[in-house]
């Protein structure tokens, strides 16, 4: 277990999440992709903390990331609900009236 390997895994998680965020049509699935990206960020933060600068700052950072994740997800659910109610759809592809 080295910094490099941990970062590699984090990069993998981030990229997989990005793939999901881009390829998924259902809002909730897009959110899952985003979560997975955040998962990678968490892992990277931990790696940096442990291998480079084990200061309290790093811990607070992790805490902030986790908070952000929660908050974003809460908003995500709210928005998905809103969309579902107003358009009877939870697909991002269906919500393309606003363009150009």
């Amino acid at each position: 277990m080295t910094l490099q390997t941990m970062l590699l895994v984090a990069a993998a998680l981030f990229s997989v999440g990005l793939y999901g965020a881009i390829s998924q049509q259902v809002v909730v699935m897009v959110m899952m992709g985003l979560e997975l990206m955040l998962n990678g960020v968490i892992l990277a933060a931990a790696a940096f903390w442990w291998f480079l600068s084990p200061t309290p700052d790093g811990q607070v950072l992790l805490l902030v990331v986790i908070t952000a994740m929660t908050v974003e997800m809460a908003m995500g659910f709210a928005v998905a609900t809103l969309l579902h109610r107003s358009r009877q759809s939870d697909m991002t592809d269906m919500a393309t009236d606003l363009s150009r």
Binding site: A21, I22, A95, T96, R100
Partner: protein, 639 residues
Amino acid sequence: MTGLLWACATVPAVVGAGLCVSGRRADRAAPTVGIVTAGVVLALSVAVALGRPATSAPFLPGAPFGLAVDALAAVVLPAVAAVTLLVLVFSAADVSGARARFTGLVLLFAAAVVITVCATTLPTLLFAWEVMGATSYALIGFRWQEPHRVGAGLTAFLTTRTADLGLYLAAGAALAGGAGLALADLPGLPAPWRDVAAAGLLVAALGKAAQLPFSAWLSAAMQGPSPVSALLHSAAMVAMGGYLLLRVSPLLGATSWAGPTAAWVGALTALLLGAVALAQRDLKQLLAASTAAQLGFVVLGAGVAAVAGGTAHLVAHAATKALLFLAAGAWLTALGTKQLPALRGAARRWPLVGVCAGVGALALAGVAPLSLWATKDAVLAGAHEESLALYLVGLAAAALSAGYAGKVLWLVWQRLPADAEAGYDTEEEGTRQVRVLQQAPLVVLAAGAAVLGLLALPPVAGTLRRALDGSGPAPGLVELVVSAVVGLAVLLLVRVRPLQPLPGWLEGWLGLARATDVVVVRPVLRTAEALARFDDRVLARAVTGAGRGALRTAGAAARFDDAVLDRAVAGSATASVRLADATVRADLAGPDAAVRSLAAGTRWLGGWARRTQTGQLHQYYVSAAVVLAAALALLLAVR
């Protein structure tokens, strides 16, 4: 005395402007006012001719409005003033309708002539010079109801103005040479600028004097009323061309080429326009061509530094030709025609007019001892000193003048044909009468035409020559005799053997007008039209096209919509026309195409910009990722 000089210039100007502005209301009083003013001017001019004042007023920086009466001006100024007065007297009886405008313009013209004669700086000269041109335009086109007369004025004005550009050039050269704008300083200019100044002045003078190749305008100018022709096209304006050359004769002499050039142009004009005059069938046209030819002698004189002779010829010719023009005008008003065949025997109907005209014609023919005989020889003497060829050409020209003068003389004194009335009223409704006021000036002018030769004969000639600082030779006795014999012989020859019709190109003024039309006017107009098309179709449309293109919705760029196709089809007809233009001026197609593609490009870009906004979220994600990756690459690449 300077006050008198200013008055001499401003009185006719102010009165003339006032008459012009007051319009038809002043018509009744105008002739009287005009005659009185002209009389005052004559008196003033005589006074200043004797007093020789010089004065100046602030005008342009470094170039005051300078007026001065030197010997040359002292001779010419009274002559011009006198002719003006006589012409106004004549026209008081001759011109009808809008007399205020006519008199006003004549007085304005007279003021300009006074200033021209007395000008000591280039701006002053140009000032008056251009006003002469403008008033001559207005006077030639005096009867504006008839478009061809206005057109003739336009031709006259534009031709003389073309030549006037030389004065602008000369002014620039004077400044560049650092000599200032005074006429007297011009010969002192350093080498290249001196030549430029000389060339500019030469061109300007040749244009006004209707010398080759500018002569054609004088033909057109005959559309003006006869008094106008008498004043402008004999005594004053045309003469001013010759006068200018006489005045700057030192400058011409200071260059190696300007004098001979002027001399040859003058001589050739005298010869060729003499031939032209011989071929004319219209009295005024004949007189006009003769004017150009006679001015040729003046120019010749200036070119060979025979200033005194030139001056004398100028003055004598003014009297002679004004006389003839007024006579022609009297006949025109009375008989309604100026066609020579129709004027057969006209002299016999009004003997006084006939006699006066006869004196004029004889003088013109160079019959001794009338005026032009001696003055012309004074010039030719100078030419002889310069070169024999020049002298011979001049002599031939003198013979020609005897020819056309004789043609007129014999014609008008022929027996009145029975069917004379048939030829009348071809140009206007004749009055069949010649009034006293029309006849009186003729007498005065005839006297002048007869005796003014004294200026070129001893003892006056010597005085004059000394006053003019001239060193030109006096005519020898042999020359005087030769020319008198030639003149008389030709005159008699014409009497014995009436002329055969001469070639059309001579009657048509050497095709000068046509040539100008083909070489200058048409190309300019074509260019103007082409440029206007270019401006409308290419430049302006390109810009509006760019604007429209940017405004156009960008969806149009994405799909090649019907409107575009429709326009393309509908526009193909105009496009083919445009294509023709484009092929003719391939270089002009460059900016056109460029700006068009710019317009299209903006339109396309607008569409592209909006197409990035697909509404598809995953595409936003992809674009964000791609752009950020590119930014990263850029950051790492550019360091």
